[in-house]
Amino acid sequence: MVKRPNTRKIVAKSYLYLILFLMYLPILVLIVFSFTKSVELGVWTGFSLQLYKDLFANDSLMKAIGNTVLIAFVSAVVSTLLGTMGAVGTFYARRRYKKAVETATQLPVVNAEIVMALSLAVLFKSLNLSYTFWTLLIGHVVLTVAFVYLNVKPKLVQMDASIYEAALDLGATPWYALFKVVLPEILPGIFSGFLLSITLSLDDFVITQYLKEPSFETISTYIQKIVVKHPIPPEVRALSTILFLVVLGAVIAITVYNNKKATKVATMRRK
């Protein structure tokens, strides 16, 4: 009986690591075989950085990476502006208005991407608009803007409602009060909404596929076009390693940052 908690712990930990291993297996295989020259996956022909050279020499893939980052960044900035203004304005509006906006905000959150993509495609076609960077941008903002709104809203709710009025009483103009008093309070929500927008946009395939200019490729559409008929191109293994490291770095940095913030708050409370 004494030994039992230990066995349970071993079983629990093994389960944890087994699932973790299985979840990362495909990406780990890509990473391992990114360091060899072989075109075929699973064949090791000695250590080589050739695939990384190939990656940087592949102009269309490099262009696709640039496009992916560009659309993610621009759409995240637009969504953050629109979503933040939407959340702030709606927060101070009457109840019926608020309810209507919030119901509409739920639509892109629950809706299937293919339905959103298709409905926008039908709209643009009906208006005889051809697909350009702007149609794609609208698609990505549709995908992400509601999430900014939903990240900013709780910060407004938590905020002390009287500080805006206090600023006005002390002689601040409405704009000054919004920028100097309200904005700092909701900044963490704006920031996490921005980050979420970036990640959603970077990963997007469906909306991009429907609304992009035919010659405009992102990482997702570029690779999808190849992998429907062929295995993953060898240089994409090198790209996967780089993406993995970037995401891992970001995740660790943000987790550590959040933990530090949490401990800081905890120690401040204790004082």
């Binding site: 944890l16 699932i19 979840m23 339905v115 993953i232």
Partner: protein
């Protein structure tokens, strides 16, 4: 005109109306008209009179249900272990389980296929199995976060009380822990079920087009420029989403699931 803070929301509201609400009306319009633009129920009748269409929908339901159940069966104990201080104290560990979500989805999915083919599970010969594996791979991270966060909030004293009152582990689990984590289970299920139904790339890549889920089917018609029929199916998808949102709201107060927040 005096400045009102409400005005700040006008660009956002205008955007919602133009690009989220009006497009839905366009879908409704196309679904109930023919190519010439005349009002008709033909698309609706065509959908339900052809068994191929209905079968695609039914098969998609089977895959979506299976995927939801498997993800919950794997994810539930995992979230329990992660939330238990005796087994895990690291928040980085939790993030590691969620991280695959942020590695490009097309790369992840095709990597799964290539590795399955490499170890001898051919996507051509075992399409059903490989599609299922691909779906579980893709949606597992989405169930872990909502389950984990409800388990953190769980009232531990109720579990102890249940044990003190003589319930064994089995009874405690089914009568106390499961009901307490129901909001997490519901929001995890909604994050898997509908997205599986409407998914369109995973089954294409992992089954070499042998398994067609509803999302792929809509795409197929739309690419053949049959917008009217494609729009009708998109409308059916939208109605199904509406129904599932309605059902999940009844079970859970957590309106938006785990997807609205990054961490």
């Amino acid at each position: 005109m005096k400045f009102k803070r409400k005005y700040l929301s006008f660009p956002y509201v205008l955007f919602l109306i133009c690009f989220i609400i009006i497009p839905v009306f366009f879908i409704i319009y196309y679904a109930f008209t023919n190519k010439g633009g005349a009002f008709t129920f033909d698309n609706l009748l065509k959908f339900f009179s052809d068994s191929t269409n209905v079968n695609v929908l039914l098969i998609s339901f089977v895959y979506a249900i299976l995927n939801t159940v498997i993800c919950l069966l794997i994810g539930y104990p995992l979230a329990m272990i992660l939330a238990n201080k005796n087994y895990n104290r690291s928040s980085v560990m939790v993030m590691l389980f969620v991280m695959p979500m942020w590695i490009n989805f097309i790369i992840r999915t095709s990597a799964t296929r290539d590795v399955l083919n490499w170890i001898g599970i051919s996507t051509g010969a075992n399409s059903g199995l490989t599609t299922m594996i691909g779906l579980v791979y893709n949606y597992l991270p989405f169930v872990i976060l909502p389950l984990y966060s409800t388990m953190l909030k769980m009232d531990k004293s109720q579990i102890e009380a249940s044990a003190d009152l003589g319930a064994n582990r089995f009874v405690t689990f089914f009568k106390v822990i499961i009901p307490m984590t129901m909001p997490g289970i519901v929001s995890a299920a909604t994050m898997v079920f509908m997205p599986t139904l409407s998914s369109y790339v995973i089954s294409d890549i992992l089954s070499e087009y042998n398994v067609v889920l509803f999302g792929s089917y809509i795409d197929l018609y739309f690419n053949q420029a049959d917008w009217n029929f494609g729009s009708l199916m998109a409308l059916i998808m939208l109605l199904l989403i509406g129904i599932s949102v309605f059902i999940s709201r009844k079970f859970s107060k957590d309106e938006t699931g785990g997807r609205t927040s990054l961490w």
